[in-house]
């Protein structure tokens, strides 16, 4: 009944005082015959490639269709001109030259999971199979089109940074007094849960600063701001009469039924009005390469994974072995965002290296989803959640937000983002 457990003080010995020796030479884990193919170079994919090479000498091939990546984090500040697009754009030079990642500018057309082979989109004849020991799918999100016609070249989603952000900025800059702007929040799981509300604040604040009297309608199928949650805590007091942005009307539990060529908007409840600028953020799901490869027989939007390794747990294909899914495409309850995608990538990279070395995955992985979110051009709040594995699934350990938006958080937002950017792409 009574035992004594000496805290592992003796085992620790004096090790903490013997300073770690910085190694600048290649890691030598004896894994140079192992090959990992990473599909997608966002926060998840870039971090996985970077840490696989930091922690081992396995071969890493990163396949990404774009020469550079535009961060969604801080992208609302590009809309308002507070930050340039260049400042949130990263290329893959560091991964190539410092870490020895092989980067191919292409996309993957097909995965032959039974034979552990992928084909590149440019290889239309499938003459150049690329084999893998492990495949990491990190392609982010794809958009689900509504059942009415929409053209994102005229009505921007601006939910992947880059040209779409510049297009939306143009629309905002063209707004005149008494104009109306509409922002639509996606229903279902989507990238960056606070993002649409942060964006609404950023745009409203920007128009205030320009002295433009514009009505903004924020249409939210989810009614998030009326609930008890961290997003409501941060944003519900910002909009409507008596608040900082009285010109923002929050329209909850409704959705856009249609948008005409002349930007006449009809809601499900029958209301209709004309808008001069529209940001329609569509519903989202994992891209085809994930769903077609791992969940071909169902309409499952996101890939089921084992949170210890992020290996696919698809029961729909004969052989999903050695395929991992990280970041926005996977289906755990963790939010879809860059900070936590970076953490998932490391759990996956560590599990792959351990598997190559004949070790079991770490049994108690944790992640967190900290983010700073600006509510105007000088104040920000933070939202965070800590997640852990309970033996079966990812569970939430704790969720919270800053009690107020302030200038200190606004400054720390850049310190956070720059360390995160460097930890992923630097």
């Amino acid at each position: 009944m009574i035992n004594e457990r000496r805290n592992f003080l003796k085992a620790l010995s004096a090790a903490p005082l013997l300073s770690g020796i910085s190694l600048t030479t290649q890691a030598s884990t004896g894994l140079n015959q192992k090959k990992v193919v990473v599909v997608g170079g966002g926060f998840a994919g870039a971090t996985a490639a970077r840490y696989l090479r930091r922690w081992s000498d396995c071969e890493v091939l990163l396949i990404e269709p774009n020469a550079s990546y535009h961060s969604c984090i801080l992208s609302n500040l590009v809309l308002t001109g507070d930050r340039s697009l260049d400042a949130i754009t990263f290329n893959y030079t560091n991964l190539e030259t410092k870490f020895g990642v092989k980067v191919i500018e292409d996309s993957v057309s097909r995965v032959d999971s039974a034979n552990q082979i992928i084909y590149l989109s440019s290889d239309t004849e499938e003459l150049n199979p690329i084999n893998y020991d492990k495949l990491i799918l990190a392609p982010g999100v794809a958009f689900k089109y509504p059942n009415w016609s929409i053209d994102f070249d005229t009505i921007p989603h601006a939910w992947k940074a880059g040209p779409q952000i510049e297009m939306l900025k143009q629309e905002i800059d063209n707004l005149a007094d008494d104009d109306t702007m509409v922002i639509r929040v996606p229903s279902g799981a989507y990238r960056c849960p606070p993002g649409p509300y942060e964006r609404t604040c950023a745009i409203a604040d920007y128009l205030d600063r320009k002295g433009r009297a514009v009505s903004i309608k924020l249409i939210d199928p989810n009614d998030t701001l009326s609930g008890a949650n961290v997003i409501a805590n941060v944003f519900s007091g910002q909009f409507g009469d008596g608040n900082r942005y009285p010109n923002v009307e929050y329209i909850a539990a409704d959705d856009i039924a249609e948008i005409s060529m002349d930007k006449d908007i009809t809601l499900n409840n029958g209301d209709s009005f004309n808008a001069q600028a529209i940001n329609y953020i569509p519903d989202q799901q994992a891209p085809d390469i994930v769903r077609f490869t791992l969940h071909p027989d169902s309409n499952q939007a996101w890939a089921s994974v084992n949170p210890l390794t992020y290996a696919s747990t698809s029961g729909e294909v004969v052989n999903a072995a050695n395929i991992h899914v990280i970041g926005d495409s996977q289906a755990t309850l963790q939010p879809k965002a860059g900070h936590i995608a970076n953490a998932e990538a490391k759990i996956c990279a560590d599990a792959i290296i351990r598997d190559f070395l004949g070790m079991a995955p770490y049994a108690n992985p944790m992640t967190n989803s900290a983010c700073f979110t600006p509510v105007n051009h000088e104040e920000a709040s933070w939202i965070s959640a800590v997640y852990r594995f309970d033996g079966n699934q990812v569970v939430t350990e704790k969720v919270g937000n800053s009690p107020e938006a302030n200038m200190e958080n606004y400054q720390m937002m850049f310190d956070w983002a720059n360390n995160l950017f460097n930890d992923s792409f630097g």
Partner: protein, 348 residues
Amino acid sequence: MLSVNKPKLLALSISALLAACSSSGTEQSDTTYNLRGTVPGTTIEAFCDDGRYFSTQSDHSVEDSQHPFNLELPIGLSCRLVMTTGEGADAWVTPIGFFNVNTSSIAFESDDDIDIGHVALYLEKDPGCDLVPAAPTYDFNCDGVQDLPIYIEIDDDDFEIITYVADPLDDDRDNIVDAYEDDDDDGIPNSKDDNYGTDDNDGDGIENAYDVDDDNDGLNDDIDEDDDNDGLPDDEDADDDNDGIDDLYDEDYEDEEDDHENDSAPIFTNDEPSAGRLLVATQCAQCHGTDGFSLTDIDAIAGENRSELLEETIEYVHEPDNLMGFHGSAYLSLNEELESIADYLSTR
């Protein structure tokens, strides 16, 4: 890992706090229980929620015994045990904690007599603290108080292990009761320390500006987090030794590598996969930089002293408005994970 049921834990803490409040304002019950055990040549002290203090000595007069003790404590009162061997400069203090399958804590109460068995303390101060340089094994700040409690497993329905959200007798939640806290690490608890907060923090007769170990913690200042004790951590302090010369131009002060102000993480590592390596990567690196090598105004935590890391994380719990305070409190019940993180960071 300690398996902790959060809602239950919270309920426990609140009821314990309520119990503490009510008991302080009302007549104490005279009903007591006996806490027994054996431990060689030791003073056993109990610090309790209502401010009461109890102590006894283990009995070395009984031949061939393992020095039994019997401490009489009030039933239903939450207390914490501390054991001390030696006296004066040789005093060696060991906090005692308890654990069962659900939880662990230094605070406990009991409804009936309890035998905690034989407690195998380190009987004297960490010998590594007398070496130059210091190489402690169980008292990293060499303050004469063991950094972590000895945990004793007690699985008994009458014995309740109490986990506090905020322990009134352990403000910084480092499992060392406030009475034995030593904030300047000079080996004297704050309450008895005349030198704390002066120009010679450790009272060794050498002014801080000329002392290679300002706080006498056995760590030369070049691996200490706040060398001049000016309240400004070295990695935010442009003048770590307070001599008025910017560190960049100060030839008298070897601080090139002490604070990672301008360092970045090594590209490659050759470590085996470990819990610490992964947890630092998933929980710390996004804000504090790869392996804790921050490139921004957020604190660099690479190479920071292990016990300071643990203490600072726990201290942040008192700042719930701070993002790190939020994270610190999320990790409170995850001792093993926190220690793995501190082990890894301290060896960067």
